[in-house]
């Protein structure tokens, strides 16, 4: 019985699937990452190491590009929780990747404020530029294009996240410049956040 009498589970409305991430090669943190993680664990009570799980997964992802089952088991061992608990978290949060991604992950914000300013056409232009559909990585393996929900930069719409940086006020006709800029100069070619006032050093 569904929560609503008109809902028919038989017609494909109910979708539930658990796709196991790939096993992957053996994984262990580098010494630097292990130390960084221990200093983050120290922010929480000694019996609450699991609080550092998001940070631990970000570090593993930085090290390997995406998260595999071996990486999740390693994280579980380091934090003292089960691998199932780690997979539970990985599968919930959108910033964790369980498949390989490009050097640059282009995240076009698709939510209302950006959409009102033309985000749909920005995605389209980037699809053409890269020869991919949203969710795919281009043939060079350099660029992954995804659509994401509100990035919190609605006054500089449409905004495109590139890894951990922002490209603000992106228009469809800027697609080529964005891609070429990244190829030539990496994330330094991005606008960054407009709140970084001219004259301010990098924080």
């Amino acid at each position: 019985m569904s929560f609503h009498p008109a809902m028919d589970y038989g017609r494909g409305l109910h979708r539930s699937a658990r796709a196991l991430p790939e096993e992957g090669p053996p994984f262990a943190y580098t010494e630097a990452h292990r130390q960084a993680l221990e200093s983050i664990c120290a922010r929480y009570p000694p019996d609450q190491r699991k609080s550092a799980i998001l940070a631990a997964l970000f570090l593993a992802q930085r090290q390997q590009g995406y998260l595999t089952r071996t990486a999740m088991r390693h994280v579980a061992g380091v934090l003292g929780c089960t691998a199932a608990e780690v997979e539970d978290v990985v599968s919930f949060y959108t910033m964790f990747y369980t498949r390989p991604v490009g050097t640059y992950v282009l995240q076009v914000c698709r939510t209302l404020s950006c959409a009102l300013m033309g985000a749909e056409r920005v995605t389209e232009a980037l699809c053409v530029q890269l020869g991919v559909r949203p969710g795919e990585t281009d043939v060079t393996g350099q660029f992954t294009l995804i659509e994401v929900e509100c990035l919190g930069a609605c006054d500089r719409a449409p905004v495109v996240g590139v890894n951990d940086e922002w490209q603000e006020c992106q228009q469809p006709e800027d697609a080529r410049r964005l891609v070429d800029g990244l190829k030539a100069a990496g994330t330094a070619s991005l606008t960054g956040c407009h709140l970084r006032v001219r004259g301010d050093g990098p924080a």
């Binding site: 569904s2 929560f3 609503h4 008109a6 809902m7 409305l13 109910h14 922010r43 009570p45 699991k50 609080s51 550092a52 799980i53 998001l54 940070a55 970000f58 934090l79 929780c81 608990e85 539970d88 978290v89 919930f92 949060y93 959108t94 910033m95 964790f96 698709r110 939510t111 209302l112 404020s113 959409a115 009102l116 033309g118 749909e120 056409r121 995605t123 389209e124 949203p134 659509e147 994401v148 929900e149 509100c150 990035l151 919190g152 930069a153 609605c154 006054d155 719409a157 996240g161 951990d164 922002w166 960054g192 956040c193 709140l195 970084r196 006032v197 001219r198 004259g199 301010d200 924080a203």
Partner: protein, 437 residues
Amino acid sequence: MMNEPLLTRHVGEPGSYTLDFYMQHGGGYGALRKALAMTPEAVVDAVKVSGLRGRGGAGFPTGMKWQFVDRTSPRPKYLCCNADESEPGTFKDHVLMERNPHLLFEGCLIGCYAIGAKVAYIYIRGEFHHVQAILEAELAQARAAGLIGRNIFGSGFDCEIHVHRGAGAYEAGEETALIESLEGKRAQPRLKPPFPAVAGLYGCPTAVNNVETLCNVPLIIDRGAEWFAGLGPEKNGGPKLYCVSGHVRRPGVFEGTMDTTLRELIYDERFAGGIRDGRALKCVIPGGSSVPVLLPDQLDGPASFDGVAAAGSLLGSAGIIVMDETTCMVWAAENLLHFYAHESCGKCTPCREGCDWLHRILGKIERGEGQMKDVDLLLSIANNITGKTLCAFGDAAATPVLTTVKLFRAEYEAHVREGRCTVPAPWRSDARAVAAH
């Protein structure tokens, strides 16, 4: 209307985020020094008298929230600063954290002192990585200057502030889901009661406050609760940040008192400067995507918690999304339900199943494949979500549907009758069918 901004006065100046700048031009941790000379109870009382209401969305009185925290509990107490800022159309906390982080730290420290906490966690959304870098660097500065840590100002008060990075989950902005996420789990809400003030982080008494809320606290301690309460309308005192986005000439974050009207915020040259390209206004979402739509003739009341409620909506997070006449309301509802279907945490059946279902039906209508009975089905599903979930997400997700069908039913019916989108806009994609995922 106040003369000068209080929270964002210096945010456009180079180096405004540094400790040196804050000591010279900002509050300079003077309010913390003052608070530490008061009893914690007196600090809570001051915040109560000021009438400060939570800036995260619900507008709950902050002083009362702090009073509920059991200071006599033998367990540790915690302050969590909600910097998840994920409500579509909201981008105010970003400015405060990036350009005025020490004001936030000062607010956190005063809050910890008031509730008897020795640790505050700033839960920042994962996508604000560049903001987190500033927070971490400035925390280190404040720590080195003895403003955070042991025996602050020789008062015997110890306090630590840590930044905790989220990883992409709208639901983490709900206070109990934020706590779950901080504990290293999925960001899913808890059954309430018990409220966090009784059993929050690690089962300990916890206060969860929004960034902007905490940034107001030093002002209250510094200049007095009565002064604060007197800024703006009764029961809606203090400075307020408004985020205006969408089809306006000058989108951005604007500070005002809550006697400013929505019409001023959208049209006035001091604020967003009117609708772009000389087009006509169609409607406004005044408080982030989760609140009811207002029509152009409903914008003359004050943009306060009570004023927007009187107009039939909610101030919420003060994320004002402006839509001009080129906007299709079925498309807008479809866009927002894509968001809610994607972000539903999955804990409660009506929300998990209902949001996805609403999104599919809206997509069908927008593509011109809908039937007349689908419009009523939308209302029926939305009404079966509202009030039937653990947290406010369910109501929030139902709102775009309920409010657009109520105000723009003719537009829905025209889509069905003509078998196409009847309000296509040049800024939308025409090649791409409404995303089916």
